[in-house]
Amino acid sequence: MKNLEELKKIRERVKRDLELRTGKHRIKIVVCLGTCGIAAGARESMNTLIDLIAKSGRSDIIVTTSGCAGFCEQEPMIQVYVEEQEPVVYGKVDTKAAEEIFEKHILNHQIVEKYLFTKGK
């Protein structure tokens, strides 16, 4: 360790890893990973989202999972929680849809009507 700069480099490197436990998350994407969701390809959509977050370099977005929400025909479903905004639920989110939602909604705050299922709680 020669100086504070070197320390900061290590810090950057482990940042994402720790942010799950420590950071402030402004945007949360919940992927329904019930049996129905998995069968419909939710895992692939989720992996797409994870990759997109990593690429964007944003540390305030996290992905978590939940179970079946009872609308199996809409799977894969994702919920998007943006701080201080109503939660938005999307249905039939395949990997292509995931990319579009990420680009428009997550990064640019525009709701993607095409896949919209419901809004609000």
Partner: protein
């Protein structure tokens, strides 16, 4: 780092959970996750104590901070299936409490007057204590870097003094002042010693700090070394603390590899290294001068003070001795400044205090709270209330601590308020008892401990502890002599005034406070008409008492 995990499971591995099979649970978790094909998404991380004690193996799941306790190995398959495959909470073992999602707790304390955060335990149960990069990731070693590169030793001492930090080892001596005494001595080499003996019964805060965040202690010691111009540090640690020793050794090794210990730290001309010394389980060796003797290889008997360790310490050289918890406050104070630190606690004693709450409460365990909250708040707001029966008494600060009654429930727990009543804050153990325990019973067990631990160097302590033990034992059996209580007070007074070291002197604390608040109850144990068991008069007594 090519990490795809979106969920992290923290397995609390500390001395308690290891006994409940935490290591097996961790292995089983990893196997199950890979069997389900989700090892990439869910990462298993080892951490220190998460919080709840006496609840078997404790897991924290992030993000979200759900807590699970009492999980058995057989349940892991089902747990993984439910929680990570289906994404539902595993209700069966879910605790009502959650881990805060942000590192620094920003909760209102119960009086709704000020914010508090965790200073000492902020990383415990959150980072992997065996990975220096995680510690760096949460800001670790930055205080050291900025101290070495941007501040002089005098500036650091001034910061610590302005923060108002006082020792957390029991005596509450102002830390900055202690550092300045050691700094002033111009006799080299000097030493820094971390007191990790933690012999006070019921106290295990230092252990959980070391198990959960060992690098914080290392960082603080290097800062202390720089501030008092020492180049060698020692950690004197209780031998039973196997896991703490292991993790400290690992931490020292990692710090050396990164040159955070060793020569030319942070590219400066400052050198510092740390050695661990393992104690052999004597209570008095926690007393700083006995501790120094023990490190030097002598019998663990106290030395006469003054001179204090700041002048004649280890190997007769100037030495700074601080408790683990005291040191754990240092990096945060350096990083955030003294004014920030004074946001917590009281004017006279800023900061937080880590308490180990034990006995008849619903949620025994470790808490970190602002100094100055009352016993009532600790019991009812943090420890979930009395588990059965009614609150009767509390012994604060360990076996050498005072015994308080229900009337003292609202006294703020800080040095000044307690001293006004003749009490001490002590080490942080809070033993809460209901009406099933008699005062004589409690006193007997305290005195038995002291009689066992008295080192024998001075006769006042050696004889006094033995005498008090037999007296309390008589009271416990309801066979007290007519003037038993007066005799006990006399002996305790003599010990307080004339014992060689604070061990013998502190024996008076529980005796005085019990006599003060529970005299009625103790009087009921006096059954004999026979007047006194004055050691001078009793024929076969081994005790010789010069009056």
């Amino acid at each position: 780092m090519n990490d795809k995990s979106i969920t992290q499971v923290l397995v609390s591995i500390d001395s308690n959970t290891v006994l409940s099979g935490a290591r097996q649970i961790k292995t089983k978790l990893i196997t199950e996750l890979s069997r389900q094909g989700i090892s990439e998404e869910v990462r298993v991380i080892e951490t220190g104590s998460i919080g709840p004690t006496n609840q078997g193996v404790v897991l924290g799941v992030f993000p979200g901070g759900e807590l699970y306790a009492n999980l058995t190995e057989e349940e892991i398959a089902e747990f993984v299936q439910e929680r990570f495959v289906k994404g539902r909470t595993y209700q069966k073992r879910l605790l009502a409490e959650k881990l805060p999602e942000e590192m620094m707790l920003q909760e209102y304390d119960s009086r709704k007057t000020q914010y508090y955060g965790r200073i000492v335990l902020d990383n415990c149960g959150r980072i992997n204590p065996e990975d220096i990069e995680e510690y760096i990731g949460v800001g670790g070693y930055e205080a050291l870097g900025s101290a070495l590169q941007e501040k002089t030793p005098e500036e650091i001492i001034n910061i610590i003094q302005a923060s108002g930090l006082r020792g957390r080892g029991g005596a509450g001596f102002p830390t900055g002042l202690k550092w300045s005494f050691t700094f002033k001595e111009k006799k080299y080499p000097k030493y820094v010693v971390c007191n990790a003996d933690e012999g006070e019964p019921g106290t295990f805060k230092d252990r959980l700090i070391m198990e959960g965040d060992p690098h914080k202690i290392i960082e603080a010691m290097v800062i202390a070394g720089y501030a008092v111009e020492a180049e060698q540090g020692f950690i004197y640690i209780r031998g039973e603390y196997k896991l703490s020793i292991e993790r400290l050794q690992k931490a020292i090794q990692q710090a050396r590899e990164m040159n955070l210990l060793g020569e030319n730290i942070f590219g400066t001309d400052f050198n510092f290294d740390i050695q661990i010394k393992i104690g052999a389980g004597s209570y008095v060796c926690g007393e700083e001068t006995a501790l120094l003797n023990s490190i030097e290889g002598y019998r663990g008997e106290p030395r006469l003070k003054p001179p204090y360790p700041a002048q004649y310490g280890l190997l007769q050289q100037p030495t700074l001795i601080n408790n683990v918890e005291t040191l754990a406050n240092i990096p945060a104070i350096i990083l955030n400044g003294p004014d920030w630190f004074r946001n917590f606690g009281t004017e006279n004693m800023p900061g937080t205090k880590v308490y180990t709450v034990l006995g008849h409460v619903n949620r025994p365990g470790l808490i970190e709270v602002p100094i100055g909250i009352t016993l009532r708040e600790v019991i009812y707001d943090y420890a979930g209330g009395i588990s059965s029966g009614e609150f009767k008494m509390a012994q604060i600060g360990g076996t050498a601590g005072d015994i308080l009654s229900a009337e003292q429930l609202d006294v703020p727990l800080d040095i000044q308020s307690l001293q006004a009543l003749g009490h001490n804050l002590g080490s942080g153990a809070l033993l809460i008892m209901n009406d099933s325990i008699s005062v004589a019973e409690l006193l007997t067990s305290c005195m038995k401990f002291f009689a066992h631990e008295s080192c024998g160097k001075c006769s006042v302590c050696r004889i006094g502890t033995e005498y008090l033990y037999t007296a309390c034992n008589r009271l416990r059996k309801g066979e007290g002599y007519a003037d038993e209580l007066e005799n006990m007070r006399d002996i305790a007074t003599t010990m307080k005034l004339t014992a060689f070291c604070p061990l013998g002197q502190s024996v008076a604390q529980p005796v005085f406070s019990a006599l003060k608040y529970f005299k009625n109850e103790l009087s009921k144990s006096i059954k004999q008409n026979k007047k006194s068991f004055s050691p001078t008069r009793e024929k076969n007594s081994k005790v010789i008492y010069y009056s």
